[in-house]
Assembly symmetry: C2
Homo-oligomer: 333 residues x 2
């Protein structure tokens, strides 16, 4: 077997072989190998649930692949509520002709990332459709919320500091470079953030909001958070962490890093008095070494500033930033 | 907006509009409308988790559509472990050009089916890919397992009765009729089974195994269960409930109802002494009126009968049934 054929979606013998040969051997979970309709696992008093589908193209790129991405995406969404990610389900939609060796690499990458993120893959499903060898993966996840943790967009409060956990735009620039055939050393930042968030929670930092910076980029994410809390977010262009290579790449193509997606970065909004401590915790966590404070949550000066995001530019201007309009780059995740 | 365009997958303004206009208005869930990265909901001591992707074509068919199907499929997988289905996440992969009016109908159907099944849609995701207007939906679900419930394939025990909850093959025959342009009155049986399973659990029936009859059909399902328990399942051809119209349809095309998928039927394996009571409970539940006992779990006569499924034919023969080989009918779910 070197290509996926329609029979792999039959629910019969070929499906069974695909599952045993490719998925079970890698995911290696006692729950999964029971081959039941649903996994039964220990629960918790308060749970977080999320889902994401992944359609990125190309399927493999410098720094990662759709397999690593689909675990990170779901793990990070759970983390953004302060949850400890626990269980992942994965649904594969395979186009006829999909390369089996490639699928094996992606599944291995999923397994390794799940291990890194401390989550168990407990249930899966495979469907086959006509097409040209494309691979789409949906992951859904469940995490447990520790007692007393309440992290959500509405909690952003005037006086809070806005922290970003590292350089923005890397993943987007990587996918775009691959798509355009541009050679450079830019790598995707796709990474699971359970260590970073877990450290903040363990240190009992009174974190108000966490949000990972994905499609739409930092600009869209911050504008949405400002709208949720009806406050005025002000960030400084000078403080935005951008990798120099990504910055030149953006300059060349006329792109704004504010609207470029990441897959391993988050925004943390925390009371100012503990902001430096939070930055230190993030910096000492995996994937957080470039964390910094980029701005503050302010009282809106007037009605026009309610729910607004303002960028203080390098030359001293104040620019209102809206959420992404139009299409940034399709299929970055 | 009458067609989906790539911009709807941007994560920016168009995605927000799509979510508010089409999904939020129908799913109408306070949790979903928080627009957080993950939903936070009350948990339970033991949970069941499952996932399924749906790629059925056509998207609408007599008796149902992909929207009803994707809720039923996930609800039923949870039920098959005796769980009370609680929360659903849904991931949409939309091909460019997908019809927005159709999408609205499907989302409405999902919302209605979720209401019927007693589940809440708590998280979602939308991606857009190039293509020809196709719509794929992944659902994942969480259910709560009541104390003392332990339903799984390995529990099938010699002496157990094998019950099927109604006519087999309806969904498969419906999709095939549509695909071939054959006019008849066959309708899909796609239905949520939480009422049926809930009634068995409430009546404290000592159910050993439940399994819904989907891809691969009853033959594949029973053979897999026989293998899991290493017993010998014997069923009688004469007792298999098949709708007369589906039976003629199968006769005409040379199809075997044993390998035709359903989306609202289940197998229940229960101790013989309570089998009639179980049948009565299923018959009095929604979607269970045609339930009957079709066979028994027997001691294997010799090694060749270990993990086997034997069909006693109408003319008195005994035929070993294997799991589906080759492709039954692609994309029935």
């Amino acid at each position: 077997m070197d290509k996926i054929i329609m029979e792999h979606g039959s629910g019969g013998r070929a499906t069974g072989e695909l599952i045993r040969d490719i998925f079970e051997s890698q995911f290696n979970s006692d729950v999964l190998s029971e081959m039941e309709d649903a996994a039964v696992v220990p629960g918790s008093g308060t749970i977080a649930m999320t889902t994401d589908s992944f359609v990125v193209t190309p399927l493999e790129f410098p720094g990662g692949d759709i397999g690593r991405l689909c675990i990170c995406g779901t793990v990070n969404d759970l983390c953004m509520r302060g949850a400890v990610p626990k269980y992942i389900t994965c649904g594969f939609i395979l186009e006829e002709g999909a390369d089996v060796a490639l699928l094996r690499r992606l599944v291995k990458s999923m397994a390794e990332t799940a291990e890194e993120a401390g989550v168990k893959i407990v249930a899966g499903d495979t469907k086959v459709i006509e097409g040209n060898g494309g691979i789409y993966i949906n992951t859904a996840g469940v995490g447990f919320i520790p007692d007393g943790v309440d992290i959500k967009a509405k909690n952003a409060t005037v006086g809070d500091a806005i922290i970003v956990s590292g350089n923005v735009g890397d993943h987007h620039a990587t996918v775009l470079s691959q798509r355009m055939g541009i050679k450079n050393n830019i790598k995707s930042d796709n990474a699971p953030l359970q260590d970073m968030v877990g450290n903040l929670v363990k240190a009992k930092m009174p974190v108000h909001v966490l949000r990972d910076v994905t499609r739409g980029g930092l600009g869209t994410v911050l504008k949405e958070l400002a709208l949720s809390s009806n406050t005025c977010f002000e960030i400084e262009q000078d403080k935005l962490p951008v990798d120099p290579q990504v910055e030149s790449f953006c300059g060349l193509l006329g792109l704004d890093p504010l609207y470029m997606g990441n897959e391993g970065k988050m925004v943390a909004i925390v009371p100012e008095e503990c902001a430096n401590e939070c930055v230190d915790i993030i910096k000492s966590s995996k994937y957080g070494q470039d964390a910094c404070i980029i701005g503050y949550v302010n009282e809106p000066g007037d009605d026009s500033e309610k729910g607004s995001l303002i960028l203080k530019t390098r030359i001293g201007g104040r620019r209102f930033i809206d959420i992404l309009q139009g299409e940034g780059l399709p299929r970055i995740c």
